[in-house]
């Protein structure tokens, strides 16, 4: 009797579990449907498009590798790649070290830490368009611009910040460092607070100064966090769009034309959807490649 009771309970449990299974799918179904239709499917669709001379209306024509071959021939592509690399090379270390520095300051035992965090975070939640417009106004050329007035105090002549081919990209980078720093400060701060204080005590007893403590305790222990910040910053930098759209429109003379802006122009300016898809896929490949390299370089170190 006892054993059959257990058998029955076991069967019931199995039955219940099987029933639960189906309900589980209902719980994930909305999320999967939306991600499938608007994330996975378009990503795969783009891959197919990249081999076609894609027309929105009318017949699309299969062109094989033509779009990829064209990539290396279009005159502006080279510029767009160069500019994007330049932007990334300035923006990633700029934001990373600024954020790390501020996080180190905030990690000292200070009052009003919460208030400082909030202040540094304000640019992060502000819309890209609004702050790009604001900085476009700050960069206003001629004697009436705010930045020109400020540098005028030091006797420097007014600059055409966004109109000068040499200055336009660094000017955009300054905006994006200002805008992007706060979020990374929080990531670094979380990392810093998870370092056991005992390590600093031990280092201090061994006579380590401020720099030595940073160099031999903070920096190595922060490495995983630094990697996350580095990856996130690189991925977003390679896709920079809005500041370029609002502040320079890619100018002067294409000196701030970035890949994302170029893709946008290809698809929605020239209607070259297939070519735009091919360029997107090359960007995707570049991002994946850089991610893998950074991960390998930073991830393999054991400490």
């Amino acid at each position: 009797m006892v054993s059959s009771h257990f058998v029955r309970r076991g069967a019931l449990a199995l039955y219940r579990e099987a029933r639960l299974n189906h309900w589980s799918y209902l719980f994930v179904l909305p999320a999967l449907a939306i991600l499938g239709a608007f994330l996975l499917y378009p990503a795969l669709y783009a891959f197919r498009m990249s081999f076609y001379d894609w027309q929105v209306l009318g017949q699309s024509e299969f062109v094989g590798m033509e779009n990829y071959r064209r990539f290396f021939e279009m005159p502006n592509v080279r510029l767009a790649v160069q500019n994007t690399v330049y932007y990334t090379a300035l923006n990633v270390p700029g934001t990373l070290f600024a954020a790390l520095f501020v996080a180190l300051l905030l990690n000292a035992e200070i009052r009003a830490r919460a208030w400082f965090r909030v202040l540094f975070y304000l640019p992060v939640i502000s819309s890209d368009v609004a702050v790009s417009l604001l900085w476009k106004w700050i960069y206003w050329a001629g004697a009436r611009g705010l930045l020109n007035n400020l540098i005028g105090v030091f006797g420097l002549p007014p600059q055409d910040w966004l109109g000068d081919p040499k200055l336009a990209m660094p000017a955009i980078v300054l905006l994006t460092i200002w805008k992007g720093m706060g979020g990374n400060v929080l990531i670094f701060l979380a990392g810093l607070q998870s370092i056991p204080p005992e390590l600093y005590e031990a280092a201090t007893m061994d006579g380590a100064g401020l720099w030595a403590r940073f160099r031999h305790v903070t920096w190595p222990l922060l490495r995983p966090v630094t990697l996350i910040v580095l990856l996130l910053l690189t991925i977003s930098s390679l896709q920079v769009f809005t500041p370029v759209f609002v502040m320079t429109g890619g100018g002067p003379a294409n000196h701030t034309l970035t890949i994302a802006f170029y893709i946008y122009n290809l698809a929605f300016g020239s209607g070259l959807y297939g070519f735009a898809a091919a360029v997107s896929y090359l960007l995707f490949a570049a991002i994946l490649g850089i991610t893998v390299i950074q991960r390998r370089y930073f991830g393999d170190v054991i400490y």
């Binding site: 719980f27 604001l134 204080p197 946008y264």
Partner: protein, 290 residues
């Protein structure tokens, strides 16, 4: 957090008193740099056109004028753009919190065939850059007939893998016993989610809600692509597109454009300052566990 657990007499100062003064000085300079551009935005928004371009620079508007806000709100139809943006952001937030919480619950607590595989595929999609999606997603939306409609903005971006992950992480910390007790009492699966999981995961839901709202409110590229007619525009699309028009047509009305920018930025800063504690703890949750 970890510093709190260390008794005060064991805490080592990283810097001495003089160093501390330097830390404060640097932080105050940094905070001012962070804040100063916003002050300039607000100051410009309250200036008359003559003051905007006056030399030497007028740091503060005198007299203060509301004219720019009136012009932005009525003449340039920002009232409508504001409502459009509010509608899109609210709908996105409601959908996002509901769907991500359901999925997060399933991934945290329920066993079903293919769970790990599905979850790993979702995590892998995080590597897909937005720039790759721009072109094909436009064609998908076009096929669905969603061009120029709010649904084309709301539905494609109301689910994010990051938010599902965040919900999952939080829900796994809720004691299983509560769920089991409810099940013994005969609660249905939906009721368990609705009556146990939802109330207990409020901090994570608040975080997801804020992320979704901010993301939708600040979005630019996608609304720019989908919303063609002016009466459908969001605040950001209006600001981004009208600025070139205005600069050409009206001799750089920076007062009006800064007033428009204030209308975009200020509501979010208000929400942020109110819900700041949720926001920060949520960010820390993501930062530590992500």
């Amino acid at each position: 957090m970890s510093q709190k657990s260390v008794p005060f007499y064991r805490r080592r100062q990283f810097v001495d008193a003089g160093g501390k003064l330097a830390v404060y000085a640097l932080l105050i300079v940094g905070a001012l740099l962070s804040f100063f551009p916003f002050a300039w935005m607000v100051s410009t928004a309250f200036k008359t056109p003559e003051q905007v371009f006056a030399l030497p620079i007028h740091w503060l508007p005198d007299p203060v004028t509301w004219g720019n806000f009136a012009a932005a709100w009525r003449r340039f139809d920002f009232a409508r753009f504001f409502l459009n943006t509010l509608f899109i952001s609210s709908m996105t937030t409601v959908l996002s919190v509901t769907i991500c919480s359901m999925a997060g619950y399933a991934f945290a607590r329920r066993r079903f065939w293919g769970r790990e595989l599905i979850f790993n595929v979702l995590l892998a999609t995080l590597t897909i850059p937005g720039a790759v999606l721009m072109t094909p997603l436009f064609l998908v939306i076009l096929k669905l007939g969603w061009i120029n409609r709010f649904i084309g903005i709301i539905v494609p971006f109301c689910v994010s893998v990051t938010n599902i992950f965040l919900m999952r992480q939080y829900i796994s910390t809720i004691p299983v016993e509560l769920e089991e007790a409810a099940r013994i009492d005969g609660a249905s699966d939906f009721a368990i989610w609705r009556r146990i999981i939802l109330p207990l995961s409020q901090p994570a839901m608040a975080t997801v809600a804020i992320f979704s709202f901010v993301g939708a409110w600040d979005g630019f590229l996608w609304p720019l692509i989908v919303l063609k007619d002016k009466e459908m525009w969001t605040l950001n699309v209006a600001l981004g597109l009208l600025q070139t028009e205005y600069i050409a047509a009206e001799g750089s009305p920076w007062g009006v454009m800064m007033a428009g920018s204030v209308l975009v930025v200020l509501p979010l800063i208000g929400v942020f300052l109110t819900l700041q504690r949720y926001f920060m703890s949520g960010l820390m949750l993501g930062a530590v566990k992500g």
